[in-house]
């Protein structure tokens, strides 16, 4: 029924087979929308946030998807500015994943601010001394960049492309994409960094506080670096999942291995910097504020030293070691394990920098403050996942996302 919309040279399942899973994921989406409407109409009393947790599950999800969506800006930077032309075979998917991640981040923020009708205040009545203002500016502008990068893909749909104006527009947008990609890399550097900077400047919370360079704490640079290192791993992991679901090879191994290798080396340099930062913080910064390392990981029911091991060793050193070696990178199973560990690693890092910061007692009479999200928070955090799956399904079916698909899967 919709065969006229499907890209040339590729095969897709029947419309019925496509609509059934779409309806299932759509039901999850509706559950999230219901929870979102509850938060908007009844207010933030629908959440389990409290005086200890002004930032909670949503902000973790926000920081995590922004880091995972970093694959879009870094792949664009490598392709358009560094000249890694092979990455043109995966850049479309990186852009789509980035678009999903950033639109999800903005959606979560729109719920989290509690009063979305006043969302524009941050632009009009800007607090120019806040790193979060800079995050809001860069996030909004970078989402515009991702939209601009996604539009040519939509225009390349078989039917839309028949309209001469849209064909020329798509062609021109491709021609100027380097300008947009450079703007995107500039914006990403600052908002990824400022998200880390927000934690690093909390001098009243020694678990997060870091020294730094001029006005920027070390966490500023570590967040940008980690997004560039781990973001491509998420792009590659979602590509692998898409290949498994469709039962097709969609991107050639040399492209995957190139991006995995760059990501692996970025991760290696990042994790060395992260270890140095952790050692300095544990031995100099925290003791200067009256804390020992073990104070941050004991006397509570959840946060043990295991979380540090999981973030730095399992989610950092192990995937980096796999991806920088030829043998690890060339094995599809081993490199997929590395992608999974990397995604877990960066997500744990964001969890620690948002939620553990809030949990650790600061005063001698304080207790650990543990937090459990309400079902409305969980549903609204799953909502972007369902939305992302739906957008990937529709984009994969109707748009030429994978330029190598036809060559790798010749039609019978």
């Amino acid at each position: 029924m919709d065969s006229a919309l499907i890209p040339n040279g590729v095969r897709r399942c029947s419309l019925g087979k496509f609509l059934v899973p779409l309806a299932v994921v759509g039901a999850v989406l509706l559950w999230g929308v219901y929870a979102m409407l509850l938060c908007w109409f009844k207010g933030l009393n629908q959440t389990n946030m409290n005086d200890n947790y002004g930032f909670a599950l949503w902000i973790w999800a926000d920081l995590a998807v922004i880091a995972l969506g970093g694959g879009a800006f870094f792949t664009g930077f490598l392709k358009y500015l560094i000249g890694k032309d092979e990455l043109k075979h995966i850049i479309n998917y990186a852009v789509l994943i980035g678009f999903i991640c950033y639109s999800s981040a903005l959606l979560i923020l729109a719920i989290d601010i509690g009063q979305p009708l006043r969302g524009w205040f941050i632009f009009w009545h800007a607090n120019v001394h806040s790193m979060l203002t800079e995050v809001a500016f860069c996030l909004s502008c970078y989402f515009m960049v991702l939209t601009i990068e996604y539009i040519p893909l939509i225009l390349e749909n078989r039917q839309i492309d028949k309209v001469p104006f849209f064909h020329h527009l798509s062609h021109n947008m491709h021609g100027t994409m380097a300008v947009f990609a450079a703007t995107g890399a500039f914006l990403s550097f600052f908002h990824q960094g400022s998200l880390g900077g927000v934690a690093g400047v909390l001098f009243g919370r020694p678990f997060a506080y870091r020294e730094g360079l001029f006005i920027w704490p070390w966490t500023f640079f570590l967040f940008t670096w980690s997004a560039a290192a781990y973001g491509p791993c998420f792009t590659l992991l979602v590509t692998r999942i898409t290949e498994a679901v469709t039962g097709k090879k969609l991107v050639k191994d040399n492209v995957v291995e190139l991006l995995a290798k760059i990501s692996g080396w970025m991760m290696t340099t990042y994790i060395i910097a992260k270890i140095i930062d952790t050692l300095y913080w544990a031995n100099v910064t925290a003791p200067s504020k009256g804390f020992n390392l073990i104070d941050f990981y004991s006397n509570n029911g959840f946060y043990g030293i295991w979380i540090l091991v999981m973030e730095i060793i399992l989610g950092g050193i192990v995937p980096a070691a796999i991806l920088i070696t030829d043998k690890g990178r060339k094995s599809p199973v081993v490199r997929t394990v590395a992608f999974v560990l990397a995604v877990i690693g960066v997500s744990v890092n964001r969890w620690v920098m948002v939620l553990q910061v809030m949990a650790v007692p600061v005063m001698p009479f304080d207790q650990w403050a543990l937090y459990y999200p309400s079902w409305q928070e969980v549903a609204t955090t799953i909502l972007p996942v369902a939305y992302g799956i739906i957008l990937i399904m529709i984009s994969y079916r109707y748009l030429p996302i994978f330029p190598q698909e036809a060559e790798l899967n010749p039609a019978e």
């Binding site: 009009w124 800007a126 500016f137 492309d161 001469p164 020329h168 062609h171 100027t176």
Partner: protein, 53 residues
Amino acid sequence: MFPFNFEWIWDMSHMVFMGGLWYALIILGIGMTYCIVKAAIDTAKGGDGHGHH
């Protein structure tokens, strides 16, 4: 926020923050305007518009 708003102060923070925002928006605006205008001109010049990207 613009310089003619009552909240505006001519200090470094306002100039850097708001200047950065306008800078990014102007680049995106000019870039998209160029693409749209050129597409309109290309379309007006004729042709089936099905060359290679």
